[in-house]
């Protein structure tokens, strides 16, 4: 079986890898590029722990074949902070204790960032439905929703 040569962009840097045809983008991010921030919670697109941004859309990286990354732009949790400066969502998640175990946190942060880029002032209901594809088993979502609302307010300068 021959591997597929893929050239792509991850968090603004060019990345190159050889993938098996059946390997997913998540496999490659974690096992080849050593970016283990995206997690595999289910492998079937149900939990959202592997959420990354692909050409401006949030996707479950476990449902994207690695070969499909050719020529695309991928953004992961590892690229969310600007050096030592955290994104407001990251700061607000810490301030609101919006994580307990933290396994779902990278996926939720990537998804929430995309929401706030599309909608600067989402309602509670909009936040809940946007994040409905990201399972969290620890928090009951209350503090997550509040952290996203607070981050949105700060980013609006409200």
């Amino acid at each position: 079986m021959s591997k597929i040569h893929v050239t792509t962009s991850v968090n603004g840097d060019e990345a190159e890898f050889l993938a098996e045809p059946e390997e997913t983008l998540l496999d490659v991010l974690r096992d080849h590029l050593h970016l283990t921030g995206a997690k595999e919670g289910c492998g079937t697109g149900d939990c959202g722990a592997c959420t990354v941004n692909l050409d401006g859309r949030v996707v479950c990286s476990c449902l994207v074949l690695a070969a499909e990354a050719q020529g695309r732009e991928i953004k992961t949790i590892e690229g969310m902070a600007n050096g030592e400066k955290l994104h407001p969502l990251q700061t607000k998640f810490l301030e609101h204790a919006a994580l307990q175990c933290g396994i779902c946190t990278p996926g939720i942060l990537v998804a929430a960032k995309d929401l706030l880029e599309r909608n600067a002032d989402p309602t509670e209901t909009e936040i809940r439905f946007w994040l409905a594809g990201n399972l969290c088993r620890c928090t009951g979502y209350d503090k997550i929703v509040r952290a996203v609302q607070d981050a949105a307010a700060e980013m609006r300068g409200a």
Partner: protein, 743 residues
């Protein structure tokens, strides 16, 4: 102050009760935190596990030769590769980790492969030749008890009148039921069933094991207790416990389900045979089929009440299956059933049953939610029948200090009444319902646990502190430990780093379970800090040339105890740390013991819901959790425990269930069909922290993790039943079940 003081009642706290950012937070919001599957080792192989497709089958043939011969395959193991002299205590764990003569449930591990890539390992599983003789199976708890049911461990019945699947029967209570029921104006009796549910942690089990032929090894895994993992794995592998060093990774949820081992000994056995490190990661399907869900249950409850609401007697008969092995939490369920109530006549009976399902594991207050569901449903039925207020009625019968508990002990200071009074005053309970909406109330109880605990608190010359604990942090406990150490030492929170250290670096620690960590590791931290302070006072005494007894610790400084001790300038924590190399060498505080004095915790939940009568779907409109925390060390994470337990309870009440087909196979082994609550399913979850200090902890801490999942099942069932006017007695109250009840 004295070094053994328990002053929770009057103490004014500085650090404790604040909400600083957790010390592991930065790593967790940037993707740097290392969870179970994130670890790799040089030369590492990948493991895969072959699982039984049958609910019950004899293994007639198992030949691994063809798999072993495949390119890239480095080792194949079966039961023969484990310790054939495993201790009796771990015999069932071994049987569950790798089947012996029979597959006992759909998903039971049969063999495992290690290969150079995950794909090569998976492909090699198909080359293992196996033949089964399929046996009759049973997956329902009531069906498994009937004489003539398929036998899982054939033999004589252990409890008269039942099949050999009934493993044991326990009974608790006091008084005379006959007399109690005779004194009642109304006696209500009802039967209930609850489905098995899974803890549903988002992180599947993962382990990297490296074991060499000389019996020395290392294990990295996501676990609630790496010391227990070490002890079990070393027994299963037949090596010395101290020859195996276990490191706990960050853990992506456990809720009780990661208190035992599944893939860890498999990784080690594969590694020993291959001579290379091996990683084994479960798929989500494996997690559902082959780790430990909680028990399904079948429960009868009978309660007598006078017209004024006084409960005269209570009886509960609980039946729970624990999978193919004894050990369902039915005994704890029986103990919890009537814990909230002061009853003169009470009895609860628990019956432990086995059937062809995966071995149950602890799930947040194991047993209590089911018992609570049945008892609190009947209390609600009585309140409805007698037109009594559900909170007042519970207050009238509530357990308090001095009450003899239904399972034996006499309660010390407890906070049930305080939670009920807070519920009565809450804006939620005082709000009006709209037509079609229903309100439910329930109390709940959990014991809380102490357990064996070791802590080391090492001082650094720059006045900072390295705190080593052995209880994996499953919900922010490192923040709580830093707060307690800061409080005790009188130094800033930021000057303390708490690390969950490996099994070679600290004495034994029980697992992070039983809501014990903030209680027990917290108590250990406080005592280790007091031990360090005592040593610091000793150094000050030496510096001043006075007796150790003449030095006290106050305001983060060593001071002479009075005029007779001489006129010496107080020595600060920083100064004493800086000079410790010259005054006698390094200073560390220690605690190694099993604390006594864990404090029980009670809660009261209030929930409003409405039901769509066309689809049968329930919407939770408002939810309030009120719970006694004893003392909330980091209130934000206490609230988080309240909210998380409530959300899991909502899932259990409304949607989650293990669905087995006629063939005994699990039909919904994935998050699409086993539906846990998503963000759009839930409202905000209001919380109120009640603080009735636990006299058995220096700061009054009880434990908060588990009690929060006890009331939701009943609270929601009561709410839904009151909304639709029909009593729901079976969980989950999924849309099809609600539609059927409305028919």
């Amino acid at each position: 102050m004295a070094f053994d003081e328990y002053d929770s009642e009057n103490r004014i706290f500085n650090a404790v009760g604040t909400r600083p950012i957790r010390p592991d937070g930065m790593d967790k919001v940037t993707g740097k935190a290392m969870f179970g599957a994130d670890f790799t080792m040089p030369g590492m192989l990948h493991g895969a596990i072959l699982r039984s497709p049958h609910a019950h089958a004899k293994i007639v043939k198992l030949d691994t030769a063809k798999a072993e011969a495949l390119p890239g395959v480095k080792s194949v193991i079966t039961r023969a590769d484990f310790n054939d002299k495993v201790s009796r205590a771990n015999a069932d764990v071994l049987e569950n980790v790798m089947a012996g003569e029979k597959a006992l449930y759909d998903g039971h591990a049969i063999a495992a492969v290690a290969a150079t890539s995950p794909l090569a390992a998976k492909k090699a599983l198909r080359a293992i030749e196996i033949e089964y003789e399929v046996l009759p199976h049973v997956t329902d708890v009531d069906a498994a008890m009937v004489p003539g049911a398929p036998e899982i461990r054939p033999g004589e019945p252990k409890v008269e009148g039942y099949s050999s699947n009934v493993m044991s029967k326990v009974e608790f209570g006091h008084g005379d039921l006959h007399e109690g029921f005779a004194a009642a104006d109304v006696v209500m009796e009802k039967s209930f069933k609850t489905a098995a549910t899974h803890q549903g942690y988002i992180e599947p089990h993962a382990a990297v094991g490296s074991l060499t032929a000389d019996g020395r090894g290392e294990l990295w895994c996501c676990t609630q207790g790496h010391f227990v993992a070490r002890n079990i794995c070393s027994d299963l592998l037949g090596i010395q416990a101290s020859s195996l060093r276990v490191m706990a990774s960050e853990i992506g949820g456990g809720f009780g389900g990661k208190t035992t081992v599944f893939v860890e000994p498999v990784a080690l056995a594969l590694s020993r045979k291959a001579g290379r490190p091996v990683k084994v990661v479960m798929s989500r399907e494996d997690v559902f089929r082959a780790t430990g869900p909680t028990s399904s249950s079948s429960i009868d409850v009978k309660i007598g009440m006078k017209n004024d609401g006084t409960m005269t007697a209570g009886q509960a008969i609980l039946r729970m299956q624990g999978g193919a092995f004894p050990g369902s939490p039915v005994g704890m369920a029986a103990m919890c059933a009537f814990a909230p109530y002061a009853l003169d006549h009470v009895q609860s009976v628990g019956i432990d049953v086995i059937c062809n399902r995966p071995k149950q594991a602890a799930y947040r207050a194991p047993g209590s939610p089911m018992a609570c569901f049945a008892v609190e449903s009947v209390v609600d039925m009585l309140c409805n029948k007698l037109e009594l207020d559900p909170v007042d009625t519970r207050l009238m019968n509530a357990s308090k200090e001095g009450t003899k508990a239904s399972y034996g002990p006499t309660w010390p200071r407890i906070g049930l009444i305080e939670t009920l009074e807070a519920a009565k005053k809450s804006p939620h309970y005082r709000s009006e319902l709209k037509p079609g909406q229903g309100r439910g109330v329930s109390c709940g109880f959990w014991f809380n646990h102490a357990g064996e605990t070791s802590v080391t608190l090492a001082l650094s010359p720059d006045g900072t502190v390295a705190l080593s604990v052995g209880t994996p942090d499953i919900g922010g406990s490192r923040a709580s430990m830093c707060l307690m150490a800061a409080e005790e030492l009188g130094i800033p929170y930021e000057k303390i780093r708490t690390t969950v250290v490996d099994t070679a670096s600290l004495g034994y620690n029980d697992v992070s379970h039983g809501s014990r960590v903030t209680y027990a590791s917290g108590l250990a931290t406080i005592k280790a800090a007091r031990d360090a302070k005592k040593k610091l006072c000793g150094r000050a005494a030496k510096t001043w040339g006075i007796d150790e007894d003449a030095v006290v610790w106050e305001d983060g400084m060593a001071k002479p105890s009075g005029h007779n001790a001489g006129d010496h300038e107080p020595l600060s924590f920083d100064k004493l740390c800086k000079t410790m190399g010259r005054t006698g060498g390094p200073i560390s505080g220690h605690f190694e013991a099993t604390p006594e004095g864990a404090g029980v915790s009670f809660a009261t939940h209030v929930v409003d819901s409405e039901v769509d009568r066309e689809t049968g779907a329930t919407r939770v409109l408002r939810y309030t959790v009120i719970q006694d925390a004893g003392k909330a060390i980091h209130p934000a994470y206490v609230e988080g425990q309240f909210q998380g337990g409530a959300a899991q309870g909502i899932g259990w009440a409304l949607n989650e269930e293990y669905i087995y087909g006629e063939d005994g196979r699990l039909q919904n082994a994935g998050f699409l069909d086993y539906r846990i609550p998503v963000a759009s399913d839930l409202p905000m979850i209001e919380t109120e922290i009640v603080e009735v200090p636990n006299p058995g902890h220096p700061y009054g801490v009880r434990g908060v993790g588990e009690t929060s999942i006890c009331p939701p099942l009943a609270a929601i069932a009561n709410s839904v039943s009151n909304a639709v006017g029909v009593r729901l007695t079976e969980l989950p109250m999924s849309p099809p079940r609600i539609l059927k009840a409305l028919d």
